[in-house]
Symmetry: C2
Subunit: 214 residues, 2 copies
DNA sequence: TCATTTCCATAATGCACGCAATGGAAATGT
DNA sequence: ACATTTCCATTGCGTGCATTATGGAAATGA
């Protein structure tokens, strides 16, 4: 499912298969939701706002996702899938530990400051505090995400001579630092330069920790 | 303004001054907003939800805060004021650097996982993404908060022989780590044990950084 | 070609939301 | 004591929200 963010409505009256139509419409709607949440926030991401951005009507949303909850869950699934795929397709040739750390931190930070993550964050924030916990427990996503992170982490740092338990801690710590940096950046209103020095401090910590023998 | 969270409606028909009434009602409403956001989330914190929790009607809110935006801003002001006061009243006698770091991290983490902070976080998250930026710019709060943090930081670590610039970096980093830990904790659904080891790693980093000469 | 299914726009409905308006009880102050 | 002000409950309103219902155009497949 390609990124359809900048697509405008097709010139109309083009013969396309159902599969094509469905793919584009779904992508367009999902992108609209992500953009809307990232720009105007979750609770202003209303039905009409979504349809306006997507250039479709609510009928389309209704057909593809059922109701609003359906889209939100779909955004979670789609974003997570894309994210996991991107993470696991990273070419990890023989780098030094330092370079791997830098590379990893860079990628991860990029992710946590992305619109996609911001959106999922707000969606989850809202979902896990409803009286009516839906069938797939909201906290499940967090678990899946951490698993995916863990796979990537092991590919990057699996050879470190540090106890597994310690590695999990470092992993959790890293995620915390990065999401924290991302959120402060977010609250500081809009896009600011990336916090190089803070990231450097994190990288130094990781290198030191991973280098030492278990 | 005392914490009125667990207060129930007074037995009615008690003679009280206007000042007393106002103080209690305001406190009750503010507490209701904080609790509501922390428990059911920002966008389910509706007018009736607030009045229900506070045990008052909308008329009271209207009288004391004007409109909904008024309460939210009031929550920001009140929470921040309380927080700053608490921070600056900490007795900082002669402790070792290690103990000061532990103490500081502990306090700060406590703050970032508090209901008050979660509430202000969500309020700010929503406010700074509206088309109509109100008179006091939303990002102003963040600045004020960081100033308050800075004052406390200097009281704790002002004697460190580390360049000021580096200290600001460490400060920012610390806030990021703590908010990050708090938010992952939040997303992991409900109250979990506090992440001792992650905090320990942060403390170790701070001690190492602050101990070295400029 | 024609029936069926998929896809989606249009229109209508019901509801919850924030808010304004009003009035009255309680406190104030003169 | 009485006018004034403060405090807050009640009521009602307009709007925007999510959602349903319906119909028709386009694609499918026989």
């Amino acid at each position: 499912m390609a990124d359809a963010r900048n697509l405008r409505r097709a010139p109309a009256r083009v013969r396309r298969s159902h599969a094509e139509r469905t793919a584009e419409t779904r992508a367009r709607i999902l992108a609209a939701v992500v953009d809307s949440i990232a720009e105007v926030g979750f609770h202003r991401t209303t039905a009409v706002e979504i349809t306006r951005r997507a250039g479709v009507t609510w009928g389309a949303v209704q057909h593809h996702f059922g109701d609003k909850d359906g889209i939100l869950v779909a955004v979670l699934e789609d974003t997570f899938g894309r994210f996991a795929a991107r993470l696991e397709s990273v070419a990890i040739d023989r780098m030094s530990l330092e370079r791997r750390v830098v590379f990893f931190v860079e990628r991860a930070f990029e992710h946590f400051t992305s619109r996609e993550y911001v959106s999922t964050f707000e969606i989850l924030l809202d979902h896990l505090r409803r009286k009516d916990p839906p069938s797939p427990d909201g906290a499940r996503w967090q678990v899946q995400m951490l698993r995916a992170w863990d796979r990537v982490w092991r590919r990057f740092f699996g050879d470190a001579t540090v106890p597994r338990k310690r590695q999990l801690l470092l992993q959790h710590y890293t995620v915390a630092v990065l999401t924290g940096l991302a959120s402060t950046l977010l609250l500081e209103a809009g896009e600011r330069a990336l916090p190089r020095e803070e990231l450097a401090l994190l990288e130094a910590t990781l290198v030191r920790e991973l280098a030492q023998a278990g």
